[in-house]
């Protein structure tokens, strides 16, 4: 919470202006009605005509000031909000950034990031919904009470009582119940059931379970609706109570005022005015009721963000020593995904000699992609070590590692923008000609200015893989790591691109994860993984003559059409 307030404090000038304008617009609204009440009371006493003209002129003035101050108040308070949002985003981005990509082993990236964005969005409203309303209301109220004091202390006391009830007692009464709301949990439960119903529809059909699952979704929705109804009713209660107390306060002002007038202790001229003041002054207090709820939301969002950014960033000290070629040495590596109950990699030892090509093969779930991610420094071994030349990979500054390592994963991220922008990530200084050459080498015919939608949604799987490859062709690295880079391409394209890839990466140390066993004759070493262990390694010829696991896999593959 402190962090948030200090971020806001950097905007203190605008904050002060917004609050001042809010107070002005609140006060002029009250003044407008006070004035009109006073006007007609005056008129009833048949004063000289110019009094009425002056009073009416004031009325217009208040009206204009009220509307325009409201306009500027809104503008500035929203500007503050957006500035705070920028700061909040930059602040949390700076904290999250060093944790990427290692943090993705702990949280699924999709969940983590969309939650991160929506939490940041929740706390953007911290100013507008939590800080701002009580401050403005306080100013407006103090001024109103002060004004009332001139006429009667009793009326001022009634105002204070009403204000305390509306702004403090009633919100406090309901905040506990509103805080304990499970609407989002119930909604997520509906989504989970519905996702199973939709995605598992065929299986449900095959096992006569569609009706049952439909009922499960309906039950989840019943619970969701019930919770919404309960929370909604509590909210309505709190709003109704608030509004009732506000109007009863106005009533109190009128009743006490009328009594005082009847007793001759208050000039009747002011009664209409004071009643209208009481009726309008509570309008600014309405948003107060929401403050506890929003405060709670902001706090929760902040806590969730904190849990993420409190992850220890990995300590890296060393820079990678420059060399013309790099070997990789995997030593007794074990890897356990956080919260998993079995090791994905078990006691792995592997030597990747500088300038050689290694293929990692095995069934899905054998651990080959995980090993590649460890080699890329995207996750650290649970125990054991990976050495790059003679430096331990975990002790390295990852940026210095990625300067010499080129990585292509099964899926790559593409940014909203153009093909050119997406290629420039690999080499911002490249000329158009170079970009075009890279596309050509990747056999991807497309304009540099062609649009790319978010996450490359307008590109097919094969196009994405070719674009990612073009991006890699713009780099020259000493180590290249590929995780099934061509799964979405047809056989001939795959073959052409593989040749192109070998040409481009000549002399580099290469690791290729592959589920297909064809084309592996060109590799220096083939490593067969099964359930996180190396079951075989050797050159293509060696493995084929050995007639072990690789040979058997090859046999099975050859019978697949």
């Amino acid at each position: 919470m402190k962090e948030l307030i200090s971020l806001l404090a950097e905007e203190r000038k605008d904050v002060a202006i917004a609050i001042a304008l809010g107070a002005v617009s609140g006060l002029t609204a009250i003044a407008l009605f006070a004035q009109s009440g006073f006007l007609i009371s005056q008129a009833a006493l048949s004063p000289p005509f110019y009094t009425i003209l002056i009073l009416t002129a004031f009325l217009k003035l208040f009206g204009a000031v009220k509307s325009s101050s409201k306009y500027f108040e809104r503008l500035i308070s929203h500007r503050v909000t957006f500035q705070a949002l920028s700061r909040i985003r930059e602040h949390f981005f700076a904290q999250l950034s060093p944790l990427v990509p290692q943090i993705f082993t702990r949280y699924r990236s999709g969940d983590l990031l969309s939650r991160f964005v929506s939490d940041v969005e929740i706390i953007q409203n911290f100013f507008l919904r939590v800080v701002y309303p009580p401050l403005v209301t306080a100013v407006v109220f103090l001024a109103t009470v002060f004004f009332t004091l001139f006429f009667s202390i009793w009326l001022a006391l009634v105002m204070i009582l009403g204000f305390l009830l509306v702004a403090l007692v009633i919100p406090a009464l309901f905040s506990e119940r509103l805080r304990r709301n499970d609407v989002l949990v119930r909604r997520a439960a509906v989504a989970t059931e519905a996702a199973e119903y939709i995605a598992g529809f065929r299986e449900l059909k095959l096992h006569n379970q569609v009706k049952q699952k439909e009922q499960a979704v309906q039950q989840a929705q019943e619970a969701y609706i019930r919770e919404q109804r309960q929370v909604g009713n509590v909210q309505l209660w709190s709003q109704t109570l608030n509004a009732s107390v506000a109007s009863l306060t106005a009533f109190g002002i009128l009743a006490v005022g009328a009594y005082l007038v009847a007793q001759g202790e208050l000039n009747g001229l002011f009664l209409a005015m004071l009643t209208l003041v009481a009726l309008t002054s509570f309008e600014t207090a309405v948003p107060i009721a929401g403050v506890p709820g929003h405060l709670h939301e902001s706090r929760q969002a902040l806590n969730r963000l904190q849990v993420v950014v409190d992850e220890q960033p990995p300590h890296h000290y060393e820079k990678l020593n420059q060399a013309s070629a790099y070997s990789l040495h995997v030593q007794n590596v074990n890897y356990l995904y956080p919260e998993a109950d079995r090791f994905t990699l078990k006691n792995l030892n592997l030597e990747l000699i500088a300038g050689t090509r290694t293929a990692l093969v095995g069934a899905s779930g054998s651990g080959k992609s995980t090993l590649l991610q460890l080699l890329a420094g995207m996750a650290s071994p649970t125990s054991g070590d990976i050495r790059v030349n003679h430096q331990s990979l975990t002790a390295l500054d990852p940026e210095s590692l990625w300067n010499v390592v080129g990585v292509q994963l099964q899926t790559s991220h593409f940014f909203y923008g153009t093909i050119r922008e997406n290629l420039a990530i690999a080499n911002p200084n490249a000329q158009d000609q170079e970009l075009q050459d890279a596309l050509e080498k990747a056999q991807f015919i497309i304009e540099l200015d062609a649009p790319v939608f978010e996450r490359g949604e307008n590109l097919s799987g094969g196009e994405k893989q070719r674009l990612a490859l073009a991006r890699l062709f713009l780099t020259k690295k000493a180590i290249y790591l590929f995780d099934e880079p061509f799964t979405s391409l047809d056989y001939q394209t795959e073959k052409n691109l593989t040749d192109e890839l070998w040409k481009h990466s000549m002399g580099s140390t290469i690791v290729l994860v592959s589920h297909k066993l064809s084309g592996l004759e060109q590799m220096d070493q083939i490593v067969v993984l099964d359930h996180g262990q190396i079951v075989e390694k050797g050159s293509y010829e060696e493995l084929m003559t050995q007639k072990g696991v690789f040979y058997e896999m090859k046999q099975i593959e050859s019978t697949i059409l």
Partner: protein, 568 residues
């Protein structure tokens, strides 16, 4: 709008109660102002004693309380309406989807359908919760106030009547202006607001290319752009409420001036009616203003309503079933069947048969409709024309649940539900531990399960333990063993299984075949070699069908597969 109205009109009682309550509300508003005026007039102008006005104070409290109660009830009715409509639309969607055949698009549609069911339905909320009660309020309250003002002081009534239309007019004018200006800006806005997520998602890629450090600057620029665009859109909205407030202030000012003139210059108006007009005028203008705000929120429901209507009105082609139970062994015949989807692909087969306990294998190059044919045979889709005959009777006379009880369909990508391994194997049926053990043994899962601390009670699926592709295949097999099917449909997996799963799959299919009619879309040579009959599919047509030795002679594709020797 029409769809939304139609949904609202289904709950006529709620609407009628809303109307009646709003009538009460209008009366309470008028009585409230009247009582206030009487109190002030009494002590200020008439100089009566406090006792004499206390009657009006009681009336005033009554009016205030009635207002609170009515406002509460209206809001509750709005909430009730919104919840009821959303619930019934969701249930309509579900029962519609339940009747639909399995989608050819498969799981790609999950996200889309989920958005429809959860998000679009929830987006209807503002319309029913806020807009509907507000429209009713705005039709009744200003009218009632206007009538009361006309009775008290017609001149004020005219001013109110004439100024009123300016509020909706300025909403419409500003709305048009924003529409023109903001389409482009809204596009920009969605770009900026998506950019944060885009950068976060791409951070891994950026870092791998050594571009991580620059992103803080990119983010800063994006934020600045976001702020500028949003503010310029908001400016229009703020300006619109500025104008409306100005109109209201102007209206009230005009009223005050007119009242002042009448009281002082012409001396035609007393204090009481003057104060009444002034006290009630804000209520009048505010309820007009609120409609505009409610309209804005209600409009957000429009797009969602259209999408929902479209989904609910979409024609379904559900698979037809009958009532006679299915008896094993099973013989399946397909006569002059056609099937097409997306207008692009057509399946057209004159005759195909699978005799009891026979193994029928479907082969053909990829993309020729093999899986679709399997789906048609399995009863996942109905053929467009032609018939499927089961043991001599048309399939649409067979009882659906007895059909699924005796068939099994093993797809390339079986789906696991969130639950234990046991629940995933049993799939809603109850089986003894022994039966379960047998199914687990037969599908080669014993070893895996013995390594799990919780055995078959281990949670899998979403939020549970992740399983590899081979393990999922074996769970699907275990489901089949538990069923003891008389009819097996098997879409052979193409890739990515470990050697062990491969062995288990072929053994298991062998043992399932002993007591069942098995129809396989084959991707493996050994499977084809074991076939009793082979069907070769090309371009959605059956180009050869019969025993292997017959098909080899007829079809070059089949011949190339089967005569290529043992090691292809």
């Amino acid at each position: 709008m029409k769809a939304l109205q139609a949904w609202a009109f289904q709950y006529r009682t709620v609407l009628i109660i809303l109307f009646l309550l709003t009538g009460v509300l209008a009366a309470a508003i008028i009585v409230q102002s009247y009582a206030i005026v009487q109190v002030v007039d009494g002590v200020f102008v008439q100089d009566v004693s406090f006792e004499e006005i206390s009657f009006f104070l009681v009336i005033l409290v009554g009016a205030l309380l009635i207002r609170s109660v009515v406002n509460y009830s209206n809001a509750r009715l709005g909430l009730h309406l919104s919840l009821t409509v959303r619930k019934s639309i969701r249930n309509d969607l579900l029962s519609k989807w339940t009747k639909q055949p399995v989608s050819e698009k498969g799981r790609n549609q999950t996200g889309e359908k989920l958005t429809t069911l959860i998000d679009y339905v929830d987006q209807l909320d503002p319309y029913f919760r806020e807009y509907v009660p507000q429209v009713i309020k705005t039709t009744i309250v200003p009218l009632a106030i206007l009538i009361s003002v006309f009775i008290v002081n017609p001149n004020s009534g005219w001013i109110m009547l004439i100024t009123a239309p300016f509020i909706p007019i300025s909403y419409i004018l500003v709305g048009l202006k924003t529409q023109q200006k903001s389409d482009r800006q809204l596009a920009e806005l969605s770009f900026f607001s998506g950019k944060f997520l885009d950068i976060l998602q791409g951070l891994q890629t950026l870092k791998l290319f050594g571009r991580g450090k620059e992103q803080a600057t990119v983010l800063k620029e994006t934020n600045a752009g976001f702020q500028k665009t949003t503010l310029s859109i908001l400016k229009i909205a703020f300006a619109s409420s500025f104008f409306i407030e100005l109109i209201i202030t102007l209206g009230i000012g005009l009223l005050a001036l007119e009242i002042g003139f009448q009281m002082l210059v012409f001396e035609t108006l007393a204090f009481a009616p003057a104060f009444f007009v002034l006290a009630i005028a804000p209520e009048y203008y505010n309820s007009l203003k609120e409609l505009g705000a409610a309209f804005h929120t209600g409009r957000g429901s429009l797009a969602a309503a259209e999408k929902l209507k479209e989904e609910l009105d979409a024609k379904e082609k559900s698979v037809k079933w009958g009532s006679s139970p299915l008896r094993s062994p099973i013989r399946l015949d397909l006569n002059k069947a056609t099937y097409s989807y997306g207008g692009e692909f057509t399946l057209q087969i004159d005759a195909l048969e699978a005799l009891p306990n026979e193994r029928l294998v479907i082969i053909g190059p990829s993309g020729q409709g093999k899986t679709t044919l399997l789906g048609v045979l399995a009863g996942l889709y109905d053929p467009f024309t032609g018939t499927i005959v089961v043991n001599g009777k048309e399939r649409n006379t067979v009882d659906e649940s007895s059909w699924w009880d005796q068939t099994t369909y093993i797809s390339q990508h079986p789906y696991l539900f969130s639950g234990t391994i046991r629940e995933n194997i049993e799939m809603g049926t109850v089986s003894s531990d022994d039966e379960l053990k047998h199914a687990i043994e037969a599908s080669g899962l014993t070893e895996l399960i013995s390594t799990l601390p919780q055995g078959w009670s281990t949670a899998v699926g979403e939020g549970g333990r992740g399983l590899s592709g081979g393990e999922k295949q074996r769970i699907a097999l275990a489901r089949s063993f538990l069923k003891k099917p008389a009819l097996v449909f098997y879409d052979e997996p193409t890739i990515g299984l470990d050697v062990k799963t491969e062995r288990i799959l072929s053994q298991s299919m062998e043992s399932l075949s002993e007591t069942a009619t098995v129809i396989t879309v084959a991707h493996r040579l050994p499977t084809i070699r074991k076939a009793d009959k082979i069907a070769v599919l090309e371009d959605g047509r059956l180009v050869a069908f019969g025993p292997p030795e017959h098909v080899i002679r007829e079809n070059a594709y089949a011949a190339s597969l089967l005569e290529g020797g043992d090691d292809v």
